[in-house]
């Protein structure tokens, strides 16, 4: 009969019994008494790694349906955090380490000793390529750490699978090479040559000659946006979308020669270091820098941002190495170094590699506390010309004037990779599938901003403004006259273009309104705070050197 309408709904108490605190169902079979009842407790620091944002207070909401929905969502969030924290048990690999006895220091250990103490595969990862003919070498590893690209200043470019020691291509481009960079996979790489930038296949076939990226000094690649960055000698910063082949934005930074470049991997913002010691942050959407930060009083030599996007390491001519917090722009630590570090690089686990002339030093936890001693050091014959940590391996690749050397740094690489992000052991078919999926999920360059999570948050300012507009409209106050764009000839007034122009004007007006509202709010707040303070200021007394002997009146 109509039995479905009479199905007894489960009482909430009955439902709760069958789920433990993680939200996972528990079997009802009779079992012997468990001395450790319930699920294993998870330490808070582990859970905090997986939490996203602050908890939202649910108690103040009056709408019952919304309250119930948010409470349910919170429960699911907690269950997800707990499960992710528990999953750490299933990670198979452990990071590398060096454990020293009393009296031994890690920085005195030579590479040869590490290679001898490690197993044979790890020992093979310490090698040196003596290439003294073609100049100081730039170094780049692919995102999954499998392939290595080296470019010598005198035109020698070589790409190979460094673990299997299998060469992919080797050529001389017959021109000065300023920088080399892998693109999204090991199939293409970009070489910044004397005049223009070229893109080559992994067989060495020239695919493109990018004449608009001229005199490029430094190249970088934003993997999730498929953007190739080129910083040139004239002060221009250019973004090229390699999936479409179009230049997304050209920015005249007006800051002179751009030699110090680094990207923030957490939010795709580009950091440039300048002669006056300022660090500027750029996004392709704005012609002016997002942030201008004075970090040193002398010219910057190198900068680096760590993987999580929290810390910025800078080094300048004043022989200091500083660690900043990227989000609050505050200086955390400073320590003296023998010379301005010519290259800085962070590894996946937070190790900082720095090269001072021909010495390479690696610090193992520079962001938590200022290091008194480096973790490891290595002396080269010639000054280092480029540094790069290999992802997912305990290896640091150093390019110098007489070739390339690959150093072992126990503990630098992330031991457990995620197959869906970058897989060092992927097959050809897996690579193809990954490439298609990555292209489908390509993030548009106009989403690059200082806070990548902004898109998932409620835009309170616009919401309030729209609400006000709606109220005005319903109350029918006089609206501003409608914008009718001028008719342009030669097909430039197609309906799509007209709509685009109208939208631009509408958005600009909305922005103006929001800005004026924000200013009003700030003015109000300032006025309020002034009223609250209400301090009677003393009149200023003339300063003199003998002031310190005067009696102080309370």
């Amino acid at each position: 009969m109509a039995g479905r309408y009479y199905e007894k709904r489960k009482l909430s108490s009955e439902i709760k019994k069958n789920e433990d605190e993680d939200g996972l169902s528990v079997s009802e079979v009779a079992q012997p008494e468990d001395p450790f009842k319930g699920s294993a407790p998870i330490p808070e620091e582990r859970k905090s790694l997986y939490k996203r944002g602050k908890e939202f207070p649910v108690d103040g909401i009056k709408n019952k349906k919304l309250k119930g929905f948010l409470r349910n969502t919170k429960k699911h969030d907690k269950a997800a955090v707990n499960q992710a924290a528990r999953y750490e048990l299933l990670l198979t690999e452990e990071p590398g380490y060096i454990e020293t006895a009393e009296g031994e220091a890690t920085w005195e250990i030579k590479q040869r000793e590490i290679a001898d103490a490690a197993d044979i595969t790890s020992a093979s990862k310490y090698f040196e390529l003596r290439l003294d003919q073609f100049g100081p070498y730039s170094v780049d590893y692919t995102r999954n750490g499998r392939h290595l690209l080296i470019g010598g200043r005198r035109g020698h470019v070589a790409a190979f699978d460094w673990m299997a020691k299998k060469p992919m291509c080797e050529m001389n481009v017959m021109e000065a090479v300023n920088d080399v960079k892998w693109l999204h996979t090991e199939n293409m790489f970009a070489v910044a040559q004397r005049r223009w930038t070229y893109i080559y296949d992994n067989q060495g076939i020239e695919l493109h000659c990018l004449k608009r990226l001229d005199q490029t000094l430094k190249l970088d690649f934003l993997p999730y946006h498929f953007l190739l960055l080129a910083a040139n000698a004239r002060g221009f910063l250019q973004y090229l979308d390699i999936s479409q082949g179009q230049i997304v934005s050209t920015i005249n930074t007006k800051c002179g020669r751009l030699e110090v470049l680094c990207q923030n991997p957490a939010n795709a913002v580009v950091l440039l270091g300048h002669y006056n010691g300022t660090v500027t942050m750029w996004s392709p959407n704005q012609k002016k820098p997002l942030v201008k930060m004075l970090s040193h009083k002398t010219a910057l030599r190198s900068i680096a941002v760590d993987q999580t996007g929290n810390y910025l390491a800078t080094s300048a001519q004043d022989r200091k190495l500083k660690i900043f917090d990227v989000r609050t722009f505050k200086s955390l630590h400073t320590w003296s170094v023998p010379a301005g570090a010519s290259h800085l690089k962070f590894s996946q686990r937070g190790f900082l590699g720095a090269s001072f002339q021909n010495v390479v030093e690696i610090y193992n936890n520079p962001c938590i506390q200022p290091p008194t001693n480096p973790y490891l050091t290595h002396k080269l014959k010639f000054p280092a010309s480029d540094l790069d940590f290999c992802p997912y391996e305990d290896v640091l690749g150093v390019g110098c004037a007489d070739g390339f050397v690959s150093l072992l740094v126990p503990g630098a690489g992330e031991p457990n990779y995620d197959s869906f992000e970058s897989n060092p052991y992927r097959s050809k078919k897996q690579r193809k599938e990954w490439e298609v999926r990555a292209l489908l999920e390509k993030i548009q360059p106009d989403m690059i901003s200082l806070d990548p999570f902004q898109i998932a948050r409620v835009d309170m300012a616009t919401a309030e403004q729209l609400q006000k507009d709606k109220e005005e409209r319903l109350g029918f106050k006089q609206e501003s006259p409608k914008f009718e764009p001028r008719f342009k000839k030669k097909g430039r007034s197609k309906s799509g273009n007209v709509e685009k122009r109208k939208r631009k004007v509408r958005n600009e007006e909305l922005r103006k309104k929001i800005r004026s509202e924000a200013e009003k709010n700030n003015a109000n707040e300032a006025a309020e705070s002034q009223m609250e303070a209400n301090v009677i200021t003393k009149p200023l007394e003339p300063k003199s050197a003998l002031n310190r002997f005067k009696k102080k009146t309370k």
């Binding site: 996203r52 031994e104 999730y224 305990d394």
Partner: protein, 456 residues
């Protein structure tokens, strides 16, 4: 001194043979998964676009009737059987698995005004313009399948019929609301309130003693079988055509009205509509709830079918075809997947309830991907780009222009009311909420006046 350098055994990370699946290792550390929010947004955008690409709701058209289909009825026990009655008196039984007609009965010599199925699924009852009520068997293969099991000739014309969800009782409506017993040939009880004819009747599936009818004097009347008089009524501004009960909430019903709207009422509070659903461009002729109780489908005179959420006032979906004319009857199948519409051009159409859904059994990975995409679409539903794409529907030009005109009219009426309020003494022009605006009044039946004796 102990030194350990990270080294992986490739055998642990690569598959052994080509016939194996690839090994997948996960690490949920957020440092390895940057740009979570923008990537989710891009995936939600792709999912919304693909939903529009795969939105092909029309499944099949059931041909066979030789006049417009004016009523339909679902089999209460089987998912694949539908009965439909047309304006030339023919009743057809369809099987939806093969999309074929398995029985055609020349039931009445006039319109078939209503068909209803008994809750045990063995018989169905039809009512027609030739003043007869006919009981038939639902089994198409029995010997009795071509003739009615029982024929009752009545004095007055009946325009609607509905069966009780538990007892062997059914109700017909015409001049009055008559309650019948399956074995009797005279009505057991008669309910009458006023002199106008009653258009349709509907029994409550949960609170089985209650039923509701729509009367030509623009009212909706509630009855309780345990009492001898109607309970109460609400009078709207225009007449309601059909009322449907919410199968999950015992006290909610939705009325399809002539003023292009649908009104959802709570029976405890009839003076204030729980929701007003607007989006049709012409009179709404039929409404039916989904078995989940969260959505309902409505068919209207403007040649389109709309699906509304229960707690929202705008439709989430509109189905139309050039070949589908005025929609007289709609039904939502009891497995929550299909919608049937019977219309003026003698066809019954089978549609998907969710236009982009893949029918049939999904592999676990497919199901997981579909669930993920649905959740993403919900998460980013309010972003302007995503909202614009997911809301976009093509609608026939007549409907589009009618809706545009209605919007202008509504805006101007609102503006005029604002002006009137601004230029009058404060308090003289009160704010009337939309949900109360369309209700004229409610009334409770008085015991002494106008009571017909109930017949035993």
């Amino acid at each position: 001194m102990k030194i350990k350098v990270l080294s992986r055994n490739p055998d642990d990370y690569q598959r052994e043979t080509k016939l194996d699946i690839h090994k997948v290792y996960r690490n949920y550390n957020p440092a390895l998964h940057p740009f979570e929010a923008p990537r989710e947004y891009v995936r939600a955008l792709n999912a919304t676009k693909l939903e529009r690409v795969f939105a092909k709701p029309f499944l099949a058209s059931l041909n066979g009737h030789t006049d417009s289909v004016c009523c339909m009825c679902k089999h209460k026990q089987r998912l694949n059987t539908i009965f439909s009655g047309s304006c030339d008196g023919e009743i057809r039984q369809w099987t939806l698995t093969n999309q074929r007609c398995i029985r055609a009965l020349p039931a009445h010599t006039g319109f078939v005004r209503g068909i209803t199925c008994a809750p045990d699924g063995t018989t169905f009852i039809s009512v027609g313009d030739d003043n007869t009520i006919k009981h038939w068997t639902t089994d198409a293969l029995s010997e009795q399948s071509h003739n009615p099991l029982n024929t009752i000739v009545t004095k007055t014309l009946y325009t609607g019929i509905d069966h009780h969800w538990k007892e062997p009782i059914y109700a017909t409506c015409g001049q009055t609301v008559d309650i019948w017993n399956d074995e009797r040939s005279e009505p057991v009880k008669v309910y009458k309130w006023g002199t106008d004819s009653v258009n349709s009747i509907s029994f409550n599936p949960v609170e089985t003693n209650m039923c509701v009818s729509t009367v030509a004097d623009r009212s909706i009347v509630l009855y309780d079988l345990r009492s001898s008089i109607p309970v109460n009524k609400v009078i709207l501004k225009l007449r309601s055509n059909v009322v449907a009960w919410n199968p999950m909430e015992a006290f909610m019903f939705t009325a399809a009205n002539e003023d292009h709207n649908l009104y959802t009422f709570d029976i405890r509070r009839l003076d204030f509509a729980s929701n007003v659903h607007t989006d049709h461009a012409d009179a709404v002729l039929d409404v039916d709830y989904a078995p989940t109780g969260k959505e309902f489908v409505s068919g209207s005179y403007d040649k389109s079918i709309r699906i509304f959420p229960v707690n929202g006032s705008r439709s989430r979906e509109v189905y139309h075809t050039k070949r589908m004319q005025r929609v007289f009857t709609v039904k939502w199948s009891l497995d929550n997947r299909y919608i049937l519409s019977g219309s003026d051009e003698m066809n019954i159409r089978l549609w998907k309830a969710r236009a982009a859904e893949k029918l049939g059994r999904l592999a676990p990975r497919e199901q997981a991907a579909a669930d993920y995409n649905n959740k993403l679409k919900k998460k980013f539903a309010y972003h302007p780009q995503i909202k614009r794409i997911s809301r976009h529907r093509h609608v026939p030009k007549t409907i589009y222009s009618i809706l545009k005109e209605k919007r202008t009219i509504k805006d101007s009426m609102r503006r005029k009311e604002q002006n009137l309020r601004a230029h009058s003494k404060p308090g003289t022009v009160p704010h009337i909420p939309e949900r109360a605006k369309h209700i004229v009044t409610t009334a409770i039946k008085d015991d002494d006046i106008d009571e017909e004796d109930s017949l035993v």
